[in-house]
Amino acid sequence: MDMSENWKEDVAESEEFDFPPDPADDFEWVPATKEVAGNMPDLPLETWQSPSTSRREFLRGVVCSGVAVSAASYLWAGNSSEARAAVRGVERLVTLNINGKNRRVDVAPNETLAHTLRYKLGLTGTKIGCNRAECGACTVLADNTTIYSCSTLTHQSRGKKITSVEGVAAPDGTLHPIQQAFIDELGPQCGFCTPGQVVAAVGLLKKNPKPTEDEARRALSGNLCRCGAYDHYLKGVMRASGRA
């Protein structure tokens, strides 16, 4: 059927269709009555506005004041940021060293590193699997040791060199020996745990360039693989050992 402007009428005419009454049709907006105002003793009656307007105004107010507060903390913070952190809590704007670059990010106090990497910096190679330090999909390197980024506050990573899976390959795009070995050994099946496995293996080779099979197994023991491709990853590490 050709949908014209007044399709309601067309339908009604053609099929004798009875539309149910639309409650919005006879809605009449009335200003707030005295009872409503009675619940808000602090506000005089004339300041009361319809909910939609007041919500918008409220949001604008909050955004403005937020800007004012963070600007103020910049102007008057001085050099004693450590002392500030002790008395008034941490700065929201922090500099993080991610994959060799300094990135300025606005970070909430309760934000995890995995969240910041994925949703603020767009580095979605780091996966969030269990989000409670069990599965290892979120593994990143902090000063060359592996950590679970889902269970680390971003503020705790200030001053550390963070390497996510995006920073593992060479700048010209050449894959890290571990990445190449995982491809050669058919490591990934579904691939969700692979970024974590890559970072854990890279972390191992940084500490121990020629690990034994047992050492490699132990180093990757904090990374779950639901496809069960553990042996493939292990073979990959052994293939890359001595080459990183």
């Binding site: 450590e82 002392a83 952190a85 002790a86 008395v87 809590g89 941490v90 909430a108 106090p109 309760n110 934000e111 995890t112 969240h115 269990c130 989000n131 409670r132 330090a133 069990e134 290892g136 593994t139 902090a142 040791t145 592996t146 950590i147 679970y148 269970s151 680390t152 506050l153 503020h155 705790q156 854990a200 132990r218 180093a219 023991s221 904090g222």
Partner: protein, 329 residues
């Protein structure tokens, strides 16, 4: 998938004095975080929602392992990996190195601290899931009912609560007669590892003597047992990540085939690391051998009161004690 953490104010003090001030100011709302491996689970589950979180990882003086003559000092913020890699500890206390190396997974050991490992809360799944049990301030135990899943719970000294200590380093420190240094209001006090852990009969809402306002700063391991025979073994459902069902830590001095002194402790069977004093007393002055193994196995779990699903821990404890004895041969 869990929720994001509740919103809180994060403080990063640079000295113990500042941290103490913050703890004082925020009182019951203050929560100390170091590695955060225990804390963030609580926050994500929204079971605990403190409004002021104090990140003490900036307290530089609480890091590192050092030799102080009579004892080896381990800063409470030393990560479990640092303990695992410390040549000083490897030489003197392989027991502690072994125990730290069996905690959780490599990533957790890289950020989890020794202080956190001994001060962590119990893993009772009912308590963790936010059930209003005795430990959470309620008036019932959900783990000790006819249908409850309690295979991970206590065999000994349950008092209303049947939760167990989850720590691997705890039994090791109890066996090594370590001392815990606790700072509060600019003063420090020292508590022996054995008294550091407390059971439900003492305070049902805490696992350790630490109260709000206390900071565990240092663990001192006396050199009394340096170079002695040491043994650690942990049995868990999974080889990695999982908490111990039962673990055993033993230090012993053997001369001329006879045990002159011994200390043995088990984790995972009681709210605190349990000293196996009956095994110790049968070993002292006796000849190491198959007979001692058999006896140790027989008495290790004496007095155990099993719940519905944790009977298996009784032979497990006996076997672990026997294996510890066998390691002396």
């Amino acid at each position: 998938m869990t929720d994001v953490m509740h919103s809180f104010d994060l403080f990063a003090p640079a000295s113990i004095e500042e941290a103490a001030k913050l703890l004082d100011k925020h009182g019951k709302e203050a929560w100390i975080v170091a590695g955060g491996k225990d804390s963030f689970d609580w926050f994500k589950d929204r079971v605990k929602r403190p409004s002021a979180v104090i990140d003490i990882t900036g307290l530089k003086q609480l890091h590192g392992v050092s030799d102080k003559g009579n004892y080896i000092s381990i800063g409470a913020l030393s990560t479990l990996s640092e303990i695992e890699d410390s040549s000083l500890l490897k030489k003197n206390f392989p027991l502690l190195v072994e125990a730290a190396g069996r905690v959780a997974s490599p990533q957790i050991r890289n950020s989890g601290t020794l202080g956190g490992n001994v001060a962590q809360d119990t893993r009772c799944s009912y308590y963790r899931d936010g059930f209003p049990c005795y430990r959470a301030g309620g008036n019932t135990c959900y783990a000790n009912t006819p249908t409850a899943m309690n295979r991970e719970h206590a065999l000994f000294e349950a008092s209303r609560c049947v939760a167990v200590t989850p720590s691997d380093t705890g039994p090791a420190l109890v066996a090594l007669e370590a001392d815990m240094v606790i700072a509060r209001d600019g003063k420090t006090r020292t508590v022996s590892a054995e008294k550091f852990f407390i059971g439900p009969a003492t305070d049902i809402t805490r696992m350790t003597v630490l109260e709000k306002g206390d900071i565990l700063t240092e663990v001192r391991v006396p050199k009394k047992w340096a170079g002695a025979k040491q043994y650690f073994e942990k049995v868990a459902d999974r080889e990695t990540w999982d908490f111990a069902l039962v673990n055993v830590a033993m230090v012993a001095k053997v001369s001329g085939g006879k045990v002159s002194d011994v200390r043995m402790a088990c984790g995972g069977v009681q709210c605190t690391p349990r000293r196996l004093s009956n095994v110790e007393s049968l070993m002292k002055g006796e000849k190491v051998g198959a007979e001692m193994e058999t006896l140790a196995k027989r008495v290790a779990a004496r007095g155990a009161k099993a719940l519905n699903y944790n009977h298996f821990k009784i032979p497990l404890m006996g076997n672990l004690a026997a294996r510890a004895v066998r390691s002396l041969a």
